[in-house]
């Protein structure tokens, strides 16, 4: 469908207009940091010869391996979930983990709202709209946080977050919540689909067209911003292209425009339309990576996907996100082969990763520094607080102080993860702000949710296990909370905190909530949250 012409404006026409932009920027600086979706294609049937025979692999499917997999792929797995995976066996479990999900209902009717006519608005009216947009983004963050906590035993929300970091676009520049939603919806819908579809949808979506200045780029002097990042960050990786390739690609990516929610790109004809296309697009021949022709943006994308480096680049990013910061190049070669031979279907590559012996090598246990959003939401889940009213303000504080604002990645390179999460500021705050779930003593703002300690403890008791309850509970807490196993000294210390001189057989799970035993249990939880091991998964 061709969108109505009268909305299309470009940055050169002062989209949405400079006053609104400045108001927005001012507002964003003060408050924010302190789609066009095609019908989903059915997932291509996997070519049998590329399919893994899961049962043939020598992987012990037990508590350590399953909790390793779940800690990396879902938010805050609990004991029941770990047991469910063990009982279902590896093949069924991984299929469930990678199963396509029904698309959720959107966070509000605003996702389809039309654009205001900025030129007819007073300054106060503009301010009101910018405030409303900001409020929507907060709602949107909360909506996503809840989906992460309620994502069950499925990877979709974590993959959505992965693509958000991969194609990192930030609301402070994109301006329209509608555009951010469109992009997020593409990530979620195509998160395990075909990379080529994903790349095209993202590239020609309004958010990316604004974020990397595709919109408004003209043949006379094209803007190189997108062309460079397309190669450096989205397909090939740095050093696999030349500056003349950047220039050629920038000429191909001219003549595409967006008004913020619609674009002049037609997904069927793969061309733009309107005078922007006829007047601004460069129809001349360009020489890109040795091939000369009147290339369009789609041609460039196709040529990039033909390069072997592209699959390697995607697999490296997946490996880094899900397994470890330093990639094993031999493994990446095998994984990239799978991605290529499946014509860029993402799911088979994930299946390869999650069913490889390599993934379950115990050297990787605890080698991931958790991102603060999942660490916080996962702890809420472990503490059985996910059904309580969600404290949006506190979640804002978490995001701002721990340096991970959803819809506001630091730059186009996304979140680098691992040790970049941890510094002398964030480490103590990660401890203090998560301890606030228990002691309500947050350094920022108040946090008032109620923690039902006995029910947390109850959820950590095993079926058919006749060791003392408190011992089972501590073992399970170590499993869920700590990325590295506790040694004997630490285990003893944890037990001492819980018992405070009493004996394990004195500890009684049926004692009422006001009993001193439970305040010691709170001490135990906070002690564990403050351990360096808590940061790791």
């Amino acid at each position: 469908m061709v969108p109505s012409l009268n909305y299309i404006k470009t940055s050169n026409d002062n989209w949405p207009d400079s006053q609104a932009k400045r108001l927005h920027k001012k507002f964003i600086n003060k408050h924010w940091k302190q789609v066009h979706v095609e019908e989903q294609k059915p997932i291509t049937d996997l070519n049998p010869q590329n399919r893994f025979n899961l049962q043939a692999r020598d992987i012990a499917w037990d508590i350590p391996s399953v909790s390793h997999l779940l800690k990396r792929t879902v938010t805050g797995p609990n004991i029941e979930e770990i047991n469910a995976f063990i009982n279902n066996g590896m093949e069924t479990s991984i299929q469930g983990l990678l199963a396509d999900q029904e698309p959720p209902s959107p966070p509000g009717a605003w996702v389809n709202e039309e654009l205001p006519d900025w030129s007819s608005l007073s300054s106060d009216e503009r301010q009101a709209i910018i405030q409303a947009y900001y409020n929507r983004m907060r709602v949107f963050q909360k909506w996503w946080a809840k989906r992460m906590m309620n994502g069950g035993l499925n990877i979709t929300e974590v993959m959505t977050l992965f693509w958000h970091s991969y194609f990192a676009s930030a609301y402070s520049k994109v301006f329209y919540p509608q555009a951010m939603y469109q992009q997020n919806n593409i990530f979620r819908t195509l998160c395990m689909g075909n990379f080529k579809d994903l790349l095209r949808q993202v590239t020609f979506g309004p958010a990316m067209m604004i974020w990397l200045d595709i919109s408004g780029s003209r043949k006379e002097a094209p803007n190189e911003n997108f062309a460079r990042e397309l190669m450096e960050l989205f397909t090939l990786g740095v050093d696999n292209y030349s500056q003349s390739d950047v220039v050629a690609a920038s000429h191909a990516f001219t003549g595409y425009v967006t008004n913020g929610v619609e674009t002049n790109y037609d997904f069927d004809t793969m061309e733009g339309w309107g005078y922007w296309w006829t007047d601004w697009h460069d129809f001349d021949d360009k020489t890109f990576m040795g091939q000369t022709g009147p290339w369009t943006g789609d041609d460039i994308i196709n040529m990039l996907l033909d390069r072997d480096e592209c699959a390697v680049h995607i697999c490296k990013k997946l490996y880094k996100w899900f397994l470890y910061d330093h990639v094993d190049l031999d493994f990446i070669d095998g994984m990239a082969d799978i991605l290529r031979s499946n014509n860029y279907e993402i799911k088979p590559a994930l299946e390869y990763l999650f069913s490889s012996e390599h993934f379950y090598d115990p050297t990787f246990y605890g080698s991931n520094v958790q991102n603060p959003v999942q660490l916080y939401l996962g702890t809420i889940k472990t503490l059985k607080m996910e059904e309580q009213p969600f404290d949006t303000n506190y979640f804002t504080e978490i995001q701002n102080h721990l340096d991970m604002i959803l819809f506001e990645p630091p730059d186009v390179n996304g979140w680098l993860g691992y040790r970049t999460w941890i510094n002398s500021n964030t480490l103590p705050l990660r401890k203090a702000m998560i301890c606030a779930l228990i002691n309500h003593e947050s350094p920022f703002g108040s946090f008032g949710n109620y923690l039902n300690i006995p029910s947390v403890a109850q959820s950590l008791v095993n079926d058919n296990d006749d060791t003392y309850h408190i011992i089972q509970i501590i073992d399970n807490l170590v499993l869920l909370f700590l990325g590295i196993e506790a040694n004997e000294t630490l285990s003893e210390q944890l037990l001492n905190i819980a018992l405070d001189g009493a004996e394990p057989y004195d500890w009684n799970i049926s004692l009422p909530a006001y009993h001193a035993q439970w305040s010691r249990f709170e001490d135990l939880l906070m002690y564990m949250i403050r351990l360096p091991e808590f940061q790791l998964s």
Binding site: N12, P410, N423, S424, N425, P428, K431, I484, T489
Partner: protein
């Protein structure tokens, strides 16, 4: 009241002498390990203009017709720019910089970059941070390597003050060593100590498995420990700064200057600071955004300059701007500029040689990509700082870059560059605390039995006091230097054995 009077009156309070951090005065359980020239009282503040600053619209070749031809939409009109030479003028937002230039407090190094400039933000930033050539990828930062060379036991033996403080959340490559990071990130020095100490657990799970997971645990544990050790001294410094500190703009860069001013005024002797100002990647409509960025930077820097000047601390500080690259000479059709190569570096301070170093950019002799040629390698700036600001020897500096770079004469050679290690293992270990209030301890190591003389000199080298200690045995010795009868000021402590003497500049504040 004028801003300057305001500061002067706050100085009266400052001079009462009660502000010295208690941790500096007492002999608390802190590392007292000092043998590098970096432990002078000198400070370098590095500011990253992140995203690639447009040098041509910052320092404008306002008589060059090619500049106006290649930038029809975004050139700064010559009548609006602020001339500093016959050919160069500042962006109109940089009025203060024009003044600094006139006062010889600003050195401009033209055309700074490196050969075969990489146009990727991330790669080029890595190059500047690691101090590598374009075609080499290093995993450690140039400052990480320098500090590791100068403090070989780091982090087990760390100096009493943090070596580097940075205000970017990411774990900066610039300060990275093979196993650790010498840069401490600071957000709010007031709450830092209570949050860190309130959540610190002395570790019990002491065995670290030999796995990748174990590596990460070791990293976090060490950072946890280092933050805990340094948090008290940082918050004490912040608290002990005069509370009438000047009004800094409520911008991100303004807050970085504000916190730093408090720490320096409060007695912290950390030698390196790294600031960040984001937003210089001006691909579209750059006139407005670039102006905002420059004026935010200039406003904040100006307050800091005034304050340090009033506190008589400015002589100890230089401020250096860096950016991963400059921008393209010709504008694009989005009224912005794409990635370029070289750009000017600006260095501010009262203890430097002001002026323009290098030629004006040649806008017609460009490289194959339409970018400016490089005149100075960025490592020449760093080399000049290491050699002339901190007085480090050529050998050390060459080890940092595994190469030799010429200095640029924007700084005179350091006056107090005597080594702290004499021949045959004679060492001046530390003078601690420094600055000091009533007394300070000089620690030195004798390789064998020696007669020792301790002298106290004023800053011009006149001997004020001589103490003959007679023959002492080989080993570590402490000498208590009493400053009760002396006025506040800078002094030099000198320890002499036969044929060799070592000195350390010390500051007495009453």
């Amino acid at each position: 009241m004028k801003r300057r009077d305001f500061i002067k009156s706050s100085l009266a309070l400052y001079a009462l002498g009660s502000y010295l951090p208690t941790a500096l005065l007492g002999s608390k359980n802190r590392f007292s390990y000092r043998n590098s020239n970096i432990d002078s009282d000198r400070i370098v503040i590095l500011i990253k203009m992140n995203g690639g600053n447009d040098g041509l619209n910052t320092l404008i070749p306002y008589q060059n017709s090619s500049y106006y031809q290649q930038r029809p939409a975004i050139a700064i009109p010559s009548e609006q720019s602020l001339p500093i030479t016959d050919t160069l003028a500042f962006h109109p937002a940089l009025e203060n910089w024009q003044t600094f230039f006139e006062q010889q407090k600003l050195a401009i190094i033209q055309g700074v970059g490196y050969a075969d400039g990489n146009l990727s933000h991330f790669r080029s930033s890595d190059i500047w941070d690691t101090g590598s050539n374009e075609d080499i990828e290093l995993t450690t930062g140039w400052l990480g390597r320098l500090l590791e060379l100068e403090y070989p036991g780091f982090p087990d033996y760390a100096p009493e003050h943090p070596l580097a403080i940075q205000y970017n959340s990411a774990n900066l490559l610039e300060f990275k060593t093979e196993t650790s990071n010498t840069g401490l990130y600071l957000y709010d020095p007031d709450t830092m100590y209570s949050i860190i100490s309130g959540n610190y657990i002395d570790n019990l799970n002491s065995d670290i498995p030999e796995t990748f997971g174990g590596d990460e645990l070791a990293f976090i544990r060490e950072l946890d420990h280092m933050s805990f050790n340094y948090s008290q001294i940082i918050s004490e410094a912040a608290q002990n700064a005069p509370n009438t500190i000047m009004n800094y703009p409520d911008t991100n860069i303004g807050q970085q200057f504000r916190i730093t001013a408090r720490l320096i005024a409060g007695g912290l002797t950390t030698p390196f600071y790294r600031f960040y100002q984001n937003g210089y990647d001006t691909h579209v409509e750059q006139l407005y955004s670039h102006e905002q960025l420059l004026s935010n930077l200039s406003d904040a820097l100006n307050v800091f300059f005034d304050e340090m000047d009033a506190l008589e601390l400015l002589d100890r500080i230089i401020i250096v701007t860096t950016s991963e690259f400059g921008r393209r000479v010709y504008e694009n059709a989005s009224e912005g500029t794409d990635h370029g190569t070289s750009a000017p570096v600006f260095i501010f301070g009262s203890n430097l040689n002001g002026g323009v170093f290098g030629d004006d950019p040649d806008l017609t002799n460009l490289d194959d990509n339409g970018n400016l040629q490089v005149q100075f390698d960025y490592r020449q700036i760093y080399t000049t700082i290491m050699k002339n600001w901190f007085g480090l020897n050529t050998n050390t500096v060459d080890q940092v870059f595994n190469d030799n770079f010429q200095t640029i004469p924007f700084l005179d050679e350091a006056l107090y560059s005597q080594p702290k290690t004499g021949p045959n293992g004679f060492k001046l270990n530390s003078v601690y605390p420094n600055p000091f209030n009533s007394s300070t301890m000089i620690s030195y190591t004798l390789p064998k039995d020696h007669s020792v003389i301790i002298r106290l000199l004023d800053i011009r080298g006149r001997v004020l006091r001589v103490t003959q200690l007679g023959k002492q045995k080989a080993g570590i010795h402490l000498f208590k230097l009493n400053g009760r009868e002396l006025p506040s000021g800078s002094y030099i402590a000198q320890v002499e054995i036969e044929g060799s003497s070592l000195t350390q500049k010390i500051i007495l504040i009453k």
